[in-house]
Symmetry: C2
Subunit: 252 residues, 2 copies
């Protein structure tokens, strides 16, 4: 089963029918699913967007038994990644901000980081093709459909990608428990920047920390472990949002 | 199977042996588990803390087959909740800050919010006994052991609890997409406060919003859904940390 190839659950399928109907090849609905308003909405959205849908026996869902599909699965084309060079060539006006994942292995965390990045108006999430969870059904679900709202850049070499970003006037901000500055001491409002979030067990790789312009930490007020990586990402991402909005207010 | 009664996975069991050995009744280790350094650490920690451990056939783990236990499970006493009145009676000096959950149903989100609250030095997480996920093995795991580091208050009536907090000079801050202020416009540094995080689908209940002194929103920079509730909690919790640390610096 190609994990890239389906979306499960009523809300997720509705979201996909709204935002990315072109990616959907077919919607399967269990004949046994309770015929509620969401199923009606799915059928209506599918008709409206000329998406094929079928009511099928529940046995058809045995391939999806490891996820809470609620009797609805959409078979989809894999998400399309953007090339870094294409992303840089079509950069919009104004400062650009992206998130880089460096070894984040839990797809729930990848999905949640993509979701926060989309909500915060970031321009892209960069995902290495190795040693990092790839975009699959769990990522798509956890992102609440955000993977269709924000460009995802895939690169083979993270090290080369960071060099390329630096050549294009991005400042690189790594996160590390031993960072020199607190994350809110950086001024995020007057530069292009890329924030590197490291893996759950491994953190940002030493080589990439060396390449960074800033290494920031999130203060811990109890002697205990650390934040989950998607929560750490959110603290930093939303600090940059706060700075941007409050700064533009003061300018008025 | 009482979901309150075990911890699974090598890292989680190690964490529990460090921070809450008294809660552990027995550690089960699969005879088939790879005999790596973490198993050695578990055995050594168990011996040191006088915790019973047993190497058992893998068939013993069939009760835990729905979680990635890595061949290690610790049977534990359920987490002990604190009564709200006891918590208030033993409040430490200085301003107090707590998180209130109002209908958060995904145990991963409950665990992540407890983890962030512990990292941020909050004083407690208040969990209603109904219409909210309770502390179970998934919460314990997702919290990375934080449930042993921060008091968890359980209440039967959230409405009554909020009244009690108000009587004890807490300001109540509800989060809502239609909130009046942005979350960073509140000054978190000179009051006792309780932040209410609402359920994934339902948000903070209308009645509790009415009782709140502030209703704050997190700005969305793309027309798209909203943040995951644990990430929304982290943005607000860490904004309060930022304000507190930077304010105390300016005082010096």
């Amino acid at each position: 089963m190609n994990k890239n190839s389906y979306i499960y659950g009523k809300n997720s399928v509705i979201e996909a029918l709204f935002t990315a109907p072109n990616r959907i090849n077919k919607v399967l609905i269990s004949k046994n699913s309770s015929n509620d308003s969401k199923i009606t909405e799915i059928v209506n959205l599918a008709k409206k967007n000329h998406v094929i849908f079928q009511f099928v026996p529940k046995e058809k869902f045995k391939d999806y038994s490891d996820c809470p599909h609620q009797g609805v699965v959409a078979l989809v084309s894999p998400v399309e990644y953007v090339e870094l060079s294409d992303f840089l060539a079509h950069k919009k006006d104004g400062f650009s901000k992206i998130i880089i994942l460096d070894g984040v292995v839990d797809p729930h965390n990848v999905g949640a980081i993509i979701r926060t990045s989309a909500c915060a108006g970031f321009d892209a999430v960069l995902i290495p093709s190795r040693r990092n969870a790839q975009v699959n059904a769990v990522v798509e679900k956890t992102s609440a459909g955000a993977i269709n709202h924000i460009p995802l850049i895939q690169v083979n070499s993270l090290s080369t990608a960071i060099d390329k970003l630096k050549d294009n006037n991005y400042w690189i901000i790594a996160t590390d428990a031993e960072g020199k500055d607190n994350y809110y001491d950086v001024d995020y409002t007057d530069m292009n920047f890329a924030i590197i979030m490291g893996g759950e067990e491994t953190g940002v790789s030493k080589n990439n920390i060396k390449k960074s312009d800033f290494v920031v930490k999130i203060p811990m007020l109890r002697k205990f472990n650390s934040l989950n990586v998607s929560n750490a990402a959110t603290a930093i991402i939303y600090e940059s949002v706060r700075q941007m909005i409050t700064k533009s207010k003061h300018r008025v």
